[in-house]
Amino acid sequence: MRIIAIMIRVLKELLRDKRTLALMFLAPILILFLMNAIFSSNSTTNVTIGTVSLSQAMNKKLGKGNHVDVKLYDSKTAAEKALKKTHIDAIIQKKHNDYILTHANTDSTKTTAVKMAVKNALTARGTAELKTGLKTSTTVIGKLRHQLTITSKALAKLQFQVAKSTNQKVKTSKSNHVTLAQVSSKKMATPKITNHYVYGDANTSFFDKMLPILMGFFVFFFVFLISGMALLKERTSGTLDRLLATPVKRYEIVFGYMASYGILAIFQTVLIVLVTVWLLGAEVVGSLFSIILINLLLALVALAFGILLSTFASSEFQMMQFIPLVVIPQIFFSGIIPLDQMASWIKTISYIVPIKYSGDAVTAIMMRGAGLSSLGLEITVLFGFLIVLTVLNIMGLKRYRKV
């Protein structure tokens, strides 16, 4: 089988190029560690909060917040459905006097924004209640003053606590359940907020959101560059001509390359996933196998892209010039930067960016546990890229041998 012979040859060449191998496997790990360390802060984004059985006043106050949309739901199940489908970013439900928040938490920026919005709304309401509460309690306190002189110190303490709790309603802890305020007096039971997370916990950061896209980026970048260089070298050194002077079929060359770089991409993906899960403590809800499959598909797209562009380059340096043109812009359109608020033509560009599709798919698998069957769109598009580019490559080899 010529395809296998080509695959083995390409793999042998790669394995003997220790530096390139190190670059391919160690550089992503290093960058992941650095990124993990750097990214913990966030920026503002738009959030949509689904509310279940909330008072009208509360709904209004929530909606007043910047970048916050409120959607009313009749039942908790309806809201949960919307959350799964990512129509909304969080659910607020009122139970007795308490609030239960359920965050999608696939984007920690949004989770933080939701918490802020709820906190602000409650503070606004809390101060209003406090005012009326204080009016009635002043008379009570007046009565009590002479009766309970000893407890005045305790009362001061109590007031301090009220103040503290209204200012600082949101406090998170690893336990996922946060009791934000204690009941400070009989009349004024400050609502308790409980946070639930669909993905991860309170420690989920911007880094976790970037991870699926970064993973795709590493796979794409290295496979694109190394395969492009390899084919370029094959062309400039004359081995391609020599290869084409044998009865090998053109598609056998392309498929041989695909097989070898596919294997390489599998190893790279496994390594990146293991590092992020074990060393960086990321959580993968869905199956690892699905993630590897998506990245493999992306690697093949990158390979086909690299081979195609290498025919337009006449030296390694010219191949490098494609990086700022082809690879870097992909990051911007991949979804690392939220595109919701940007001009529509920018969104349109993002539809032709392979990393966006792999990023979307891996995000869904990693954070929401999506199965491959529910990722039909992403997989189809990636396959589409792959088929078109592969056909172009097989035809493109005609430039070097006319049959």
């Binding site: 010529r2 012979a5 080509i6 040859r9 042998k12 060449e13 003997r16 190029d17 050194s237 004359g238 081995t239 391609l240 001509d241 020599r242 290869l243 084409l244 002077a245 044998t246 009865p247 090998v248 079929k249 070097y400 041998r401 006319k402 049959v403």
Partner: protein, 241 residues
């Protein structure tokens, strides 16, 4: 029509505006060694590439074994050695031979015997396990020739096979080429070494995109009234002797 290994009829090839081959006609018969000589840039390599189907002729036709090129299947019967050493530097000599043997579609059972034989011919047996990147220029040339010899092809097309190879080894290679001729296989060879041009059956002298002369070395020397092919070459080029 008698069977020919190569037949070029009114071959025309242009690169952009430059017409490199204007009207090339000659044939290579089975059991014949034909030498292509001519100044640098005359179009010798272009003739070879067009014959192999790597370039498409703009006029005329190139046939190999009476079939019009380009033709992928015929390539399994041709051994080609390019002017540049096209080798995989990070692989050993053995691995290079193995790879091209597989590409040529050699049978598994015969591959190892074939590799041993061609390595013997070019005297590389002891260096087969070294990486090609550590080979000397002449060793690379020899390995390149060994790859062309793989599979005992009926037609060998060699673009300057003996450049950078020492006289003793060159003699050994010519011995092998003569053996191939006796097996009724054909060889098309280009060279700048005029002693070698004396050894071929017929010489095609390429000048200005045309075949200036196509005859046996002896007949050519007679025609130009000189003592060596080197003088034929110089005289044809218009250099004062």
């Amino acid at each position: 029509m008698s069977s020919t290994s190569i037949s070029l009829n009114h071959l025309v090839k242009q690169f952009g505006k430059q017409t490199v081959l204007k009207d090339i006609n000659f044939t290579v018969s089975p059991g014949q060694i034909v030498g292509l000589i001519g100044p640098s840039g005359a179009g010798k390599s272009t003739i070879i590439k067009t014959t192999l189907g790597m370039e498409v002729a703009d006029g005329g036709s190139a046939t190999v074994f009476n079939q019009v090129m380009p033709n992928r299947k015929l390539l399994s019967r041709i051994g080609y050695m390019a002017q540049t050493d096209a080798l995989y530097g990070s692989l050993s000599g053995q691995e290079n031979l193995m790879f091209f043997a597989q590409m040529k579609g050699l049978k598994k059972q015969t591959i190892h015997a074939e590799i041993a034989h061609v390595a013997e011919v070019v005297d590389l047996t002891t260096d087969l396990n070294k990486r090609v990147s550590s080979y000397s220029g002449g060793m690379m040339r020899r390995l390149s020739l060994a790859i062309a010899l793989l599979g005992s092809p009926e037609l060998l097309i060699l673009d300057e096979p003996t450049g950078g190879i020492d006289p003793a080894l060159r003699r050994q290679i010519w011995k092998e080429l003569n053996t191939i001729r006796h097996e009724n296989r054909s060889i098309l060879i280009t060279t700048h070494v005029m002693d070698e041009a004396e050894l071929v059956d017929e010489v095609a002298l390429i000048l200005n995109g045309k075949v200036m002369a196509f005859d046996s070395p002896a007949a050519l020397k007679k025609q130009y009234q000189v003592n060596s092919i080197e003088d034929v070459f110089l005289k044809a080029e218009g250099v004062q002797l």
